[in-house]
């Protein structure tokens, strides 16, 4: 069974409330691990260091997620802060590190930190869109309307193929697809609004 908060919550909130039980942790690792690793490598760290620091920061998130207060903190800035701080601690504890200079420079480079923030923002947007798709899908109860979107937008089938598969006419596939795109976009907006209102002024 999907947990009740599954449909409307981001990974961080699910982690905080249900631990890794509902698969949120695996999803979190799969989503944010490679982003962070890729960021380290892009800014000059070797594989060994990048792997090491990635492990460190993910551990810190796992331990620290209980302190994340969704009413107060913006999830994105919370995550950014904890990533940056655990990176700093990692650097501090393994001094003198091979490649320590690169890592230090990375922490002090505005451009690199901006890049990290941008990557986190992209992942958050993607996550929100997936939550929105999930919500729309369960509302439509897997009807043909949803399948038209699923096959064409998510699985990359052509409209003709989707029409054959669903045994409906091609313009109807497009009509359903358009409708779901609109619903998803609206759901994304209302999720964003809900997050904002939760954090208050």
């Amino acid at each position: 069974m999907a947990s009740p908060s599954h449909s409307t919550s981001t990974l961080l909130v699910r982690l905080r409330e249900h631990g890794g039980d509902d698969g949120a942790w695996s999803q979190f690792v799969d989503r944010y691990g490679p982003q962070f690793y890729g960021w380290c490598r892009r800014h000059g760290l070797q594989d060994a260091d990048a792997s090491d620091v990635m492990q460190e920061v993910l551990l810190r998130v796992a331990k620290g997620v209980k302190t994340f207060d969704r009413e107060r903190a913006n999830a994105r800035s919370w995550l950014f802060t904890i990533l940056r701080n655990s990176f700093r601690d990692w650097l501090h504890h393994r001094d003198p590190a091979p490649g320590g200079d690169v890592a230090r420079a990375l922490l002090e480079s505005k451009e690199a930190l901006d890049d990290l923030e941008r990557r986190l923002a992209e992942e958050f947007d993607l996550e929100r869109k997936e939550v929105a798709e999930h919500n729309v899908r369960s509302r439509l109860r897997g009807a043909a309307t949803w399948l038209a979107y699923e096959l064409t937008c998510r699985q990359g089938l052509s409209y003709t193929e989707a029409a054959e598969r669903l045994k409906i006419r091609r313009p109807h596939v497009i009509r359903s697809r358009n409708r779901v795109i609109k619903m998803v976009a609206e759901e994304v907006r209302s999720l964003a609004a809900a997050e904002e209102s939760r954090q208050g002024p």
């Binding site: 999907a2 631990g19 690793y37 890729g38 009509r175």
Partner: protein, 513 residues
């Protein structure tokens, strides 16, 4: 079809707003026309972007990923369930667009009536997994529908249709109010006074019609006041409306339904006085108050706190909260908020009339309370200060009586011992003592309640204990040559202090005595 249909026609096609014949014709056309297929695809809103690929960027080693995933359980994600909390209702003829809001009992959706191409608000009963709608909820819902359907007024959100969806859950189609609720509007600050008055008047007229049908609204709150497409304010959500002739108390016994912030005091009281239209007048007054002041008349940390204030504390006058509120409008608003129903407007119509007079710059009928009532209201508004004043008067009396007996006692013994002449001298001396003591009480003890910037003043909010403490300082210096008076004063002050607060200080005081 020889020529390609216009974009507008395709838009209607996408919304399924065409007749079946037209729809069929356009479908057939699009199946063969590549241009129109592109048109159709282009009419979709831009799809939210997917995460950009970063080709060539290194990825972490798979075994590291595996290890990290295992760090915290290793359950695979559940497939998305089909049974989300609130699956959207499937109602023939309507296309549900989005959730507008959720209440205790129901969910409100924005939907489109396909045939009429009209946007409506669809109100439904909250749906539970595998749960059939409960009879009580349905009957409440239907009575609500009945109540709304009986009223037609610009101040009331009209109801279009009532029915049941594919699963047997009842629904209600209401006029869609795109302007949102008054509660949301007030988050940006209070309304201009005249606009607030016009709103209250529209709502009062609507309420009057509702009352005339034998229906009380019972839940007039800013959340239930909506801005229609034309900008006018309308009352909605008759979830608590109780038809006058319906059986009593559908809710559990003793459970008060509604928001206490806007509920009339008599709504909390069990007793012969059944709430009537004047309870709604009170709630509307509370809504008007918040529209003008930005805050509800009473705020409290808990429901019990609010209930207590509603029952026994007077609201802060509007003009103290916001100086630009016209005096007449304040008078009208506070008349609605009177604790006793008989002091309020007798009907919503009377309230609407007075608001009309205010808006037309005519003299209003409501009168501000007189001086005596204002004093009484002040006491209700400032129970602590009133109690302090009472305690002060009481103290003074005790001191006077005490001094009287002290003198009488002394006079009697002295008289017995001395002649008339010395008697007279002594009596004069005693009188001087009494006067000195009174002066002292006046200038030192009660001085503490003066504003801070005046001599001896500690501010109006001073506690009795603080005043006593402050005055003790003067006892010694002032009555140095009159040890008996000093001792007596110390004792009295010490006792008062003990009764008032306790602590170590008064013991020392009495010790000196």
């Amino acid at each position: 079809m020889d020529t390609c249909p216009s974009d507008d026609l395709w838009r209607i096609y996408l919304m399924e707003g065409l007749s079946p014949e037209e729809d069929e014709a356009l479908t057939a056309h699009a199946e063969t026309c590549a241009v129109c297929t592109q048109t159709l695809l282009g009419l979709a809103p831009a799809e939210p972007a997917r995460a950009p690929a970063r080709p060539g960027e290194p990825t972490p080693p798979p075994e590291l990923m595996e290890r990290l995933r295992g760090l915290w359980g290793h359950a695979e994600p559940e497939p998305p369930g089909e049974d989300a909390e609130d699956p959207w209702p499937q109602i023939t003829g309507y296309e549900v667009v989005r959730v507008l809001g959720r209440g205790g009992m129901g969910v409100v959706y924005e939907a489109r009536h396909v045939a009429l191409n009209r946007t409506v608000a669809l109100k439904t009963i909250r749906r539970r997994r595998d749960a059939a709608p409960r009879g009580e909820e349905v009957s409440r819902f239907l009575r609500e529908a009945e109540a709304v359907a009986r009223v037609s007024d610009p101040g009331i959100v009209p109801i279009y249709e009532v029915g049941r969806d594919a699963d047997g859950f009842p629904y209600m189609a209401l006029e869609f109010c795109p302007g949102g609720s008054l509660a949301a509007r007030l988050a940006d600050g209070p309304l201009p006074p005249r606009e607030a008055a016009a709103m209250a008047r529209a709502l009062a007229l609507g309420l009057y019609k509702v009352h005339a049908c034998g229906v009380l609204h019972r839940d007039v709150t800013p959340a239930n006041v909506l801005a229609a497409a034309d900008g006018t304010w309308k009352l909605t959500d008759f979830g608590l409306a109780k038809l006058a002739e319906a059986p009593q108390r559908l809710t559990q016994t003793g459970v008060v339904r509604g928001t206490p912030l806007y509920m009339a005091p008599e709504r909390f009281q069990e007793g012969p006085a059944e709430p009537d239209g004047r309870s709604d007048v009170y709630s509307l007054g509370a809504v008007l108050y918040e529209a003008l002041a930005g805050v509800p008349p009473f705020q409290g940390a808990s429901v019990a706190d609010v209930v207590h204030q509603v029952a026994s504390v007077e609201p802060v006058p509007l003009r103290q909260r916001r100086g630009e509120v016209p005096r007449d409008l304040e008078t009208i608003c506070l008349k609605c908020l009177e604790k006793e129903p008989v002091r309020r407007y007798a009907s919503a119509e009377a309230l609407a009339d007075d608001l009309r007079r205010f808006l037309a710059d005519e003299p209003i009928l409501a009168r501000p309370p007189g001086a005596l009532r204002r004093g009484w209201k002040w006491c209700r508004r400032h129970p602590v200060r009133a109690a302090l004043a009472c305690a002060g008067v009481g103290m003074l009396l005790i001191l006077l009586v005490g001094l009287f007996f002290l003198n009488a006692e002394k006079n009697r013994t002295e008289l017995a011992r001395q002649g008339e002449e010395s008697q007279r001298i002594e009596a004069q001396a005693q009188e001087a003592v009494t006067r000195a003591t009174l002066d002292f009480v006046e200038s030192k003890v009660f001085a503490a309640a003066r504003p801070k910037d005046q001599e001896g003043g500690m501010g109006y909010d001073v506690k009795l204990a603080d005043a006593l403490k402050a005055s003790l300082r003067f006892v010694e210096t002032r009555f140095k040559d009159q040890p008996l008076v000093e001792a007596r004063l110390r004792l009295t002050l010490g006792n008062s202090f003990e009764e008032n607060k306790g602590g170590g200080k008064q013991r020392k005081t009495k010790g000196t005595a």
